[in-house]
């Protein structure tokens, strides 16, 4: 009987509750919760650096040639370095570690009802490799020539020849940092997938797994299947830079387009790699705060499978004007437009979940709803860009930039805040201040739209992405366009200021907030059946699962929620 097995496991679980020394608890932990915090805090520090870079180059665009307060003068090379590393940091050092590695680590073992990852030491190693990669990236800002400035896509020959990029070591350290990070996430990813496959609580079937866990695992599988060619590509690029091979150099028989294929074969699934965890987190939050069953659990899951599958056959829409065969472009237009169908279906499922629910507008719910709204704009403008005829005009303009910020900002920043405000009571055992949370929400969401909506218009006006001073281009140096640039920059500064509210709320709540009950949101999933914060080993008694994760407002029940581990009543 599975009951008997649980009892045996409970007994053995009690014995490894011995106190660990500070070194092993916080510096070299194997506990998934501490490793998760390490990832989340590292990611948040990197987010501050990425935000600071954005501030510096936005100031240059709004007030070209003037000294930027707290930064200094932004020259052309400096500008390239700032935008390149802003992109690199926000994707690889914020979105990936916080959403996948951080929250994945935190919620997977708790939500599937076990005490840790299946490979706790591998987990620790993957964080350490990630930390090393972070240090290498930061080091690259300080070497001779400065940080890499060839855009986060690192197209050769600019990225592979030192005479072109003028950042000899910056470029190589950038490639090294990214490659190390991939290794870290591959190791972490193997851990996540095997944990979810093998360490589920007794009784938890595949279709009882919360969507948040499902989507993180799917994201990891997409990552594992797409990053390989780019790892090979990174090795080739590094050898082009340092040994003098010419894999991507036409002068030696190589092909620069090859890098674009390798990069985007990874780069486009990567969008879905960071998107899926946020979609999962949002699904969990909207069910909890609308007190309704998730509309079409299996449909949501299958649409994610479809999205994942299609994401491997859309990459060349990044290359419509790169010189690929127009006949091939047609194929990629079709697949690109096709991929919006499953995603739209998923969004409709979420909206259907909201329909008729008793919606509570707590801070995490505001973030979740704003994600759906903002991502909608990102998704719809993506269809414009997916059509090759339009893309010829839009390519490399601010329209593209606004489009992908309307996807990545909701994914990374809104998703991160949704997850933090939702799980904060569990992570730190205290409640966050809801009023401050709402002030922070509106102070982020409104300026976010004020930054990026105007950029669509700049793009339509023909503003190219990679220009550091528009005064050099008479057609773009008009006062009208400059006013829009200044408006976007001021909005950015307003948004950055409102982050101080979050930082204050985060740290004050962590130490002085109201004590959180075990299940403050009355949610069903297993992590809420542990004490807040969960002790080493997570559960007092390892749970057995009796039902799916979304049994809210079940008719005939007194309570409007039904925890997954609550035994059915004897009848």
């Amino acid at each position: 009987m599975s009951q008997a097995a649980t009892a045996v496991q409970t007994d053995t679980n009690a014995e490894h509750h011995e106190e660990l020394s500070f070194l092993y608890k916080y510096i070299l932990p194997t506990d998934h919760k501490i490793i998760a915090m390490q990832y989340i805090f590292t990611g948040m520090i990197m987010a501050v650096i990425g935000g600071y870079f954005a501030y510096a180059f936005r100031m240059q665009l709004a007030f070209p040639g003037e000294l930027v307060p707290l930064y200094g003068l932004v020259g052309p090379g400096e500008y390239n370095m700032l935008v390149t590393n802003h992109g690199t940091i926000m994707i690889f050092w914020v979105a990936m570690p916080v959403l996948i590695a951080g929250f994945g680590n935190y919620i997977i073992p708790l939500m599937i009802g076990c005490d840790d990852m299946v490979f706790p030491r591998l987990n620790r190693l993957s964080y350490q490799i990630f930390l090393a990669s972070t240090l290498v990236l930061i080091l690259s800002f300080f070497v001779k020539g400065g940080g890499f400035g060839g855009a986060w896509t690192a197209y050769p020959p600019l990225s592979s020849v030192a005479e072109y990029s003028l950042t000899d070591w910056g470029a190589s350290l950038w490639v090294l940092a990214v490659a190390l990070e991939f290794v870290s996430f591959l190791l972490g990813g193997i851990n996540f997938v095997t944990t979810t496959m093998n360490a589920r609580a007794p009784g938890m079937k595949m279709m009882d797994i919360p969507i948040a866990v499902w989507f993180i695992v799917l994201a990891v599988i997409l990552f594992m299947a797409s990053v390989g060619p780019l790892i090979a590509g990174a090795v080739m690029l590094f050898m082009d830079q340092r040994i003098g091979t010419s894999f991507f150099l036409p002068s030696g028989g190589g092909d620069p387009l090859l890098w674009q294929h390798l990069f985007w074969f990874f780069g486009h699934p990567e969008v879905y790699v960071v998107l899926l965890p946020t979609l999962g987190i949002v699904a969990d939050i909207i069910t909890v705060f609308s007190r309704k069953k998730l509309f079409g659990y299996k449909t949501v899951l299958y649409t994610a499978f479809a999205t994942g599958g299609l994401s491997f056959v859309v990459w060349a829409h990044h290359q419509f004007i790169a010189g690929i065969d127009p006949r091939m472009a047609n194929v990629f237009v079709v697949t690109t437009v096709l991929i919006s169908i499953p995603l739209a279906e998923m969004m409709f499922s979420y909206i259907a979940t909201l329909y008729g629910g008793s919606i509570e507008l707590k801070t995490p719910m505001l973030w979740a709803l704003s994600f759906i709204a903002a991502f909608l704009i990102g998704g719809v403008t993506g269809i414009y860009l997916g059509a090759s005829a339009l893309d010829v005009y839009f390519h490399d303009s601010y329209f593209v930039l606004a489009h992908f910020h309307y996807t990545f900002f909701p994914i990374t920043i809104i998703g991160m805040f949704a997850a933090i405000t939702f799980w904060f009571p569990k992570m730190f055992g205290r409640m966050m201040n809801d009023t401050l949370g709402k002030i922070h929400f509106w102070g982020t969401f409104i300026p976010f739209n004020c930054i990026f909506l105007p950029l669509f218009f700049l793009g339509l006006a023909g503003q190219h992405r990679r220009i550091y001073n528009y005064n050099h281009f008479p057609d773009l140096a008009t006062q009208e366009l400059q006013n829009i640039r200044i408006f976007a920059t001021v909005s950015l500064i307003v948004m950055l200021c409102f982050q101080l509210v979050f930082i204050y709320n985060f740290f004050v709540s962590m130490f002085k907030g109201k004590k959180a009950p075990d299940n403050p949101w009355n949610a069903n999933t297993l992590e809420w059946s542990t004490p807040s914060p969960p002790p080493h080993g997570n559960f007092k008694t390892l749970p057995t699962v009796y039902r799916g994760a979304y049994e809210y407002s079940v008719p005939g029940r007194e309570m409007d929620y039904w925890p997954q581990n609550e035994p059915p009543e004897e009848s």
């Binding site: 073992p109 076990c114 840790d116 299946v118 090795v235 028989g253």
Partner: protein
């Protein structure tokens, strides 16, 4: 102390041991790394990139010897697994070291080949073919070396009576390394289209 460590490490909801599952996932991600390299190589070759006719300069004999050695070492690792299944640690230890020996012979032949090529001026920067040759065989050789080191560690571990299941895991890995070579050998040594 048989239940040492977190409960998570002992669970098996799929019925497949966690270690084996993880090695399969590792292999899956490795396939994409080598697959990417091999795909690039094939595309360049099909495009008629100059320099790829140098494939005729690689030594078919050396490649064939290495294929034979590597396949044989895969046999010995299977025998090591069979022995440890029966609980025969000493025999398994011996077979693991035969496998490691196979790895040494493979690397020796590789080193001999590399030396000959470099003396004749076929260095990594000569043309795209040699760049791929050294990158692909070099990455493969790194996997061979990694496998040998892990195998040595496992061999001492099982002699003390620990972690018998790891013989199977390194066996899966070794077969994978073998399989990669089965792709590299025809591409770099035989094919001359």
């Amino acid at each position: 102390m048989s239940m040492h460590g977190p409960i998570a490490t002992h669970r098996s909801a799929t019925g497949v041991p966690t270690g084996r599952l993880a090695v399969w996932w590792l292999m899956a991600s490795e396939i994409f790394i080598f697959g990417g390299l091999i795909a690039c190589f094939v595309l360049f070759k099909l495009n008629g990139t100059p320099g790829f006719e140098d494939a005729s300069l690689t030594s078919l004999t050396a490649g064939a010897v290495n294929t034979f050695v590597l396949l044989t070492s895969s046999l010995t690792v299977v025998l090591a697994h069979a022995a440890i299944e029966k609980g025969d640690r000493e025999k398994s230890f011996l077979y693991i070291w035969y496998t490691i020996g196979g790895g040494f012979v493979f690397l020796g032949v590789k080193a001999y080949e590399y030396t000959g090529k470099i003396i004749n001026g076929h260095i990594i920067t000569e043309n795209l073919f040699w760049s791929f040759y050294y990158t692909m065989t070099g990455l493969h050789a790194l996997h061979v070396i990694g496998g040998m080191v892990i195998m040595a560690l496992i061999s001492f571990d099982i002699r003390k009576g620990h972690n018998y299941q790891r013989v199977e895991l390194i066996g899966i890995y070794w077969h994978f390394v073998d399989l990669i070579w089965i792709f590299l050998f025809p591409l770099l040594y035989i094919a001359n289209f």
